[in-house]
Symmetry: C2
Subunit: 416 residues, 2 copies
């Protein structure tokens, strides 16, 4: 096939792919992990892989693999991302990464079939289970189990808000499998940026060199149920008031640092008993701090703890941290960045080093094997939103770039 | 029976009654409208009424009546309250009022059977459907339909958060009936105070003379979904941040007025999509202002609207009022207050005029017929809480007081 034909084939499959879980009247999707739409898409994707000669297998936590053995017994170059989405989200996100990975492997497979002595490793595409963590927590679930960071049984027992376990949800879409292990030599992933710096700087390929530092908290604010009309204001211990003060404080923390030095957010908050005439006795909320600088995170953490002390005292509530985890700036291997730069230059694609704010499955994989992480631009940086958008020319440039990286990895780059 | 025996009989039935929907390991209950526990309790209550010669009927919205016809064709003195509860609430609240009404009617029925010429009206006990409004909104649903303030079909079509309609929920506990109308001459209700002023002032019987003024709002805060990590802070339109600012502002409004001149609350708030890594696009919250003074409510409303303008501008969200209703201080008939005072004095019970902050089914009934509203004390004013408590001596004093009121109403008081 000509380059033009390769691009058209990719874009045709991409258009088909975006129909699974499509939200009517929008350009976006709702395809949460192990939903019916996720199941249908996985079936379609399995057929696509098989039609190109790949063998489809699932492991015990629903990671879906397309395997092509070119060198009997050799380890695999693995590439992929995730097809699950947030509720009502964009169609790009991780799904673009999976489709780009599949098409990059199709190209390299054709080359290696024609020229078998070019292959040192085999090829594998992966669709990681539950990267998003909206239905089942935590996020990055599939790659965390795969890399031994999360116990399989713990993952399978995790319940969604309706009490359905991962085990039962995967069984309902017949996506729990028996692939016990996979010998991986190296890993590559491509994703849309979910920020607007590349678009503003006119950069087509992001060479991801590190993840921002972060501190994430699960808070439980405890008050006391009371009649929300008749109880004297001075007698109240209002958990929702305490929680609201945390949400506001998180936003105000940002103003104490240089512009864009700190991102803070609370996206999830649940109230009990959540009745119009009852002062809430318990509110759970997830709050996070992110920064390129671990020093900023540490300072923001101290200030947040001071706010908590004040809210506990003034609003007579108790604020518990039921879980927290934090990490410093988390680098990718410089050798992978150099490899990706070399490929971009050979293709004549504009490129730059860029950090990722969000976590990706590659954050897990890089701790196991040499890893390359790539970005293509997002228009206006819109993400986790039905209107997320990346231009076709950037999508196909990303497939070219990823193909170049996989060609080198399959020949042994980063491992020798 | 001696007075002692009457009290013991009441307390025995009361103890039995509190077992329906009991929350294990606590003194409280969870008996939301048309729940299984509500259904079981209604069956038990029907048997109790029938065992004392009352005929049990339900109307089309599940109000449960116990009727005793002593004067063929005459109107009824109606007395009652509601047995449904908030989630995990106290066992007193409206349930005490229903049981006190039943036992007061048992006493007056025995007297009138012995002395038939004392009766001008018949006797009816009522257990109003869904006073609380936690599962199905609005509150006061049963009495609102009964008094023509809410259309029956609208009430029956109301859905709970799981999509179950009032119609289906009532059918599930077989409590939708065919009583088409009831000719009511007068109404009496007794309730625990849900405040602590009577306890502090050493008052056993509250002569309720008015309901506080109020303004209630359903707000919808609209933002824009975005990745909560990677989206620039300046690009966000965070609906949860806007909502949190409203919750905090409502509490801070209170400090601009005299102590206890204004009560504000937000007890219910729901977030969409409520995912840890997505900036919320929509938050719905219910917020209310209450005061004995309509002037304070008007001033607080103006200040709240000014806060909303500022939040919309500064946080780039849109805040809509999707529903609101307000009322001035709402008086009960002074003739009813005088009647209740007369009874309390004849019984030697301490008494005082008191306003109610919360709404009661009597708020609906007083617009239809002459009405008497009574309170007994709540220890520490604890309400809508598992630890709600009223002393036995106050419970039985309340039954005595209500019996005295019903004796006079049955003889024609307030109507002649």
């Amino acid at each position: 096939m000509t380059d033009q034909q390769l691009n058209e084939t990719f874009l045709a499959d991409w258009a088909m792919h975006s129909r699974f879980g499509a939200v009517e009247g929008t350009n976006g999707v709702d395809r949460q992990a192990a939903s019916a739409a996720d199941g249908e898409q996985r079936k379609w994707f399995a057929e696509l892989l098989e039609s190109r000669g790949f063998t489809v297998r699932r492991d015990a936590v629903g990671n879906q693999f397309g395997l092509l053995e070119l060198v009997p017994g050799a380890p695999y170059v693995l590439t992929g991302s995730h097809m699950d989405s947030q509720p009502t989200a964009g169609r790009f996100d991780g799904a673009y990464g999976v489709m780009a990975s599949a098409h990059a492997c199709f190209r390299i497979a054709d080359e290696l079939r024609a020229n078998p002595e070019g292959a040192r490793f085999n090829l594998a595409v992966v669709n990681w289970f539950n990267e998003e963590g909206s239905r089942f927590k935590p996020s990055l679930m599939g790659s965390s189990v795969f890399t031994g960071k999360l116990a399989l049984e713990e993952a399978l027992a995790t319940e969604d808000p309706k009490g359905v376990t991962v085990r039962d949800a995967l069984d309902a879409i017949v996506e729990r499998g028996d692939l016990a292990e996979l010998d991986v030599a190296s890993y590559a992933e491509i994703h849309v940026q979910q920020g607007r710096s590349m678009e503003e700087d006119g950069v087509t390929i992001g060479l991801v060199n590190a993840t921002w530092a972060a501190h994430k908290y699960d808070f439980r604010v405890l008050g006391e149920q009371a009649h929300s009309g008749s109880t004297l204001m001075a007698d109240r211990r209002d958990a929702l008031l305490g929680a609201a003060r945390l949400v506001v404080a998180a936003r105000e923390l940002v103003d104490g640092f240089e512009p864009e030095a700190l991102h803070t957010a609370c996206g999830e908050l649940t109230v009990y008993p959540n009745s119009p005439v009852v002062v809430a006795s318990e509110v759970r909320l997830l709050l996070d701090l992110r920064s390129p600088s671990a020093e900023v995170i540490r300072e923001a953490h101290e200030r947040l703890m001071a706010v908590i002390e004040r809210v506990e005292r003034e609003d007579r509530v108790k604020i518990e941290i039921t879980a927290e985890h934090s990490w410093d700036q988390n680098p990718y291997q410089e050798e992978g960045v150099a490899l990706a730069r070399e490929v971009a230059e050979s293709l004549g694609l504009t490129h730059d080093r860029v950090m990722t704010v969000a976590g990706h499955d590659s954050t897990n994989m890089k701790d196991l094997v040499p890893t390359v992480m790539l970005f293509v631009p997002s228009v206006d940086g819109v993400s986790h939103n039905l209107n997320e958008f990346t231009r076709d020319e950037d999508l196909v440039a990303g497939v070219d770039q990823l193909s170049g990286v996989i060609r080198k990895l399959a020949a042994g780059a980063l491992v020798d």
